[in-house]
Symmetry: C4
């Protein structure tokens, strides 16, 4: 089996990364869409907001973790844009990451639909609705609360993503010495918090691929053009554009207000030298 | 006491493993059945879905932890099947593990029944019901939502178990260097997440022993043959067969899409050599 | 200040331990009683069961943590009995620990009463009730659900404490190598789980001092003898006796079924030796 | 970019610290006010108490974490007062920290208002209310429950802050050897617990800047002088004065009852010395 693995291994580093982002985002959206479905289809009885916050937070943590070693574990084009800003991703890789993430999100949604096919049919009588009491489109993509203007929605997505990216920048900054196994978990925890703070206006997408991929999926499985034309095409672009703007703001805010002022942790390795003859410690010649 | 322990210690490694799986699964089912009982018997008032998710997640974490050093900590025949697929368990050990787990699950259910005997009697007036407003059979084994077909139930169990096993494979993969004390906790956290995503259709059993053991227990304590004959015998096998299929799919998915492409962590041990005469560092002859 | 500390330091080790248990249990009961008060006085609106589970779990974690280095961090006479069974506490120390814990619990309750004095007055019009719609005695000590017999209550407390002590034995067992900072947190997490599984019958006291201390406090502040005479004196002893029995069962169960069969972790220290002349690694003469 | 960072870096240590406290408290209040807004504006449907507890706990954890290396991560004047008591902050630095925290809290509130501008307008019809069914002032600052006297409110804030500061003192005490990455998370967890225990009376502010900064913000954006004059000016000072008193009590309680009696952890570094000629271990001349 190890031999087979050796043979099937993708040699091209970017290829491995794109596979990682595709699989990670597919798993993420299968989970997120299923979590929201459990809430929508039970009219909030089986999953309340806290279940969504914790479930989606853990989904992000594990989705990031499983592809972290292949691609860095972004599963979000806004996060990829931040790392491009930091010079850790080339523009071409950013575009390819975004495509892989959006395709993965589309694919993951399809599996969530498969899991809840009977339940959706029971809920809406077999006719897909975007709005109204039998609406199920919000299982997949975000729709704004009635009171929310597109402008305030844009602010919501910019602020939420700026905070999320500021925290990712903090967590992944080597100066802060978080053990590597904790980083995906902390990113997930920060997203759970985002959900308790910025969930009311439009359901905290905070991820262009997480919103666009499933919206495309609903377009082709019978929800119709309404998923894009809702409010005269004035909504669907908000959770795409907002997170990209927010990611750049969050990245800059972190670096300018915190990162550049942060001293590095001293290296924690301690090496002591002894003269084997006398058993006395030798003073180091150079400071570590 | 240490001497007594030495004397009573089971010398046979597989014997120790089977004892571990029996005890671990018994503790798990005592906990899971009690957690669900607290919800069913209070009609959801004392335990809401989030209590089930978190309680059961912690139950898995601790059940895995207490037997991890004796048996690997599977407490689930589907997980054992995955490790057999990985060549870490022989087929005969897999069969014996499954028997020990199912017996443990049966035994654990009996204790949950003991704890909630008065409460069950108060709830159903002393007559056990499988369905209807006084039903308590769902405390022990899973029953599908009214809308759910056996086919969609099978998909639900396959997908939920595939995700669960994919994450266990990730967490226990040595290439990912999770500290060993974190692994049972992360497995528990992943199961809490499974419960927020795949709990609506049939209560996320995701474990053949967890479902069959308690179902056998309800058969003999007065719920009658209905626990198996429900829906003309078209349900009870779903949470047995589904998880086995899902475990193999999850295992293969992890290896093919992630595992074989994952580079190993570099060994983090740092050894520096010094010339005791000059106190100067010596360059290593070979890279670590 | 360091000098002052040196002067005030209690030199007697058992004295320090008793102070630790007193303070730890006082903090624990101030927190637990306040958490339950927030639920009872808001009729469940401000604290639902999940808040109780998580809040009390964290209260145990921090109460154990703050006195762990002074006394071992038991804050529970049943846990002290388990460690006496393991030979880690003398019988006389066990008795003194129990007294310190009960006094601390009494003292902590008084502070919770102080915090919620206005709210209790508002709730019951200034007349303390043990039962009925204006009852507030359950803020402090446990009272059984209407259906629960004393016998089933005893089983409940035995089983819940056995599981809790089995897990404490697992967590604190050196063979399992949990980092010491994680142990109070894991004990707290296990108690949160206990609350989701064994909270319905009588509110999971699982701690004789946690129940008796506050019950004594309610006796003297106007709830009257009913707090002991409730159900013809057939209840108050259950959450005292049950946990002691359960602790011994849990301790034995852990050692016999798991502990004695568990291999020790290999020591993880790695020491490499080099010949400074040739820079070649030297083979160790003895295995570590 | 590294060069730019080098140029923009604030060289003055106190300047860096004040920037850190400003940014940390601004992020904290943006999050806390948004979390409470999500609850108030949905009348508790989208955020229940558990979401507030967990969301605010994580907000504290991350706010502390992002500025920990610049300023120690207080984000709370009461915590700064405690560290002044411990001699780790000069009086002048304490005053400047308090100003930076209050300014940050004011600034963060403004962003939360921006995010929920449409929702607040929808909720109150565009007219800001401090009390009544359309009140939204409690999104920003604390207001007491109807039954609560100022005296009992003061006790509430003193006790809650004393416990919070006692736990911070425990967590940050070097004798307890918590890994540095865990400390902000544990402080956040302790605050989540505070919220389950002391949230009923007046919403657990436990932080003078967290209450005064947003109250000032509401003063200038149309809520009017009522935010201070409420109850004849008998409330607004309670969540300012109470936490300062509680912090000093908690700090002293920790040191006198626990800290000074706590033995230090033995240093865990293990150094073994070998004679390179014989490969035999050398006995250390002095005990570590």
């Amino acid at each position: 089996m190890d031999k087979l693995g050796e043979k099937l291994r993708i040699k091209h580093e970017l290829g491995r990364a794109l596979l990682g982002e595709f699989v990670g985002t597919a798993v993420l959206l299968l989970l997120i869409n299923s979590i929201v479905a459990q809430s929508v289809l039970s009219r909030g009885k089986v999953n309340e907001m806290i279940n969504l916050n914790i479930g989606i937070g853990l989904a992000i943590a594990f989705a990031v973790a499983i592809c972290a070693k292949l691609s860095g574990g972004h599963v979000n084009p806004a996060v990829s844009l931040m790392f491009m800003t930091f010079g850790q991703l080339t523009p071409i890789a950013f575009v390819l990451y975004t495509l892989a993430q959006t395709a993965g999100a589309f694919f993951g949604s399809a599996f969530a639909f498969l899991v809840y096919f009977d339940a959706i049919d029971d809920f809406d009588g077999g006719v897909r609705h975007v709005i109204g009491p039998k609406a199920t489109a919000s299982i997949f993509a975000s729709y704004p609360a009635g009171y929310l203007s597109a402008f305030n929605g844009l602010i919501d997505q910019i602020v939420a993503t700026a905070i999320f990216c500021l925290l990712i920048a903090h967590i992944t900054d080597k100066r802060n010495s978080y053990p590597s196994w904790t980083q995906p978990l902390l990113i997930g925890a920060s997203f759970a918090m985002i959900g308790t703070a910025f969930g009311l206006n439009c359901g905290y997408p905070v991820n262009p691929a997480r919103d666009l991929g499933p919206r495309l999926f609903t377009l082709i499985i019978g929800y119709g053009a309404d998923v894009f034309s809702y409010r005269d095409y004035s909504w669907f672009w908000v959770p795409i554009v907002g997170p990209f703007i927010g990611a750049v703001i969050g990245a800059c805010l972190y670096q300018l207000a915190i990162g550049i002022h942060t001293p590095s942790d001293p290296i924690e390795t301690e090496v002591r030298k002894y003269d084997v003859a006398t058993s006395q410690e030798l003073k180091p010649l150079t400071a570590t």
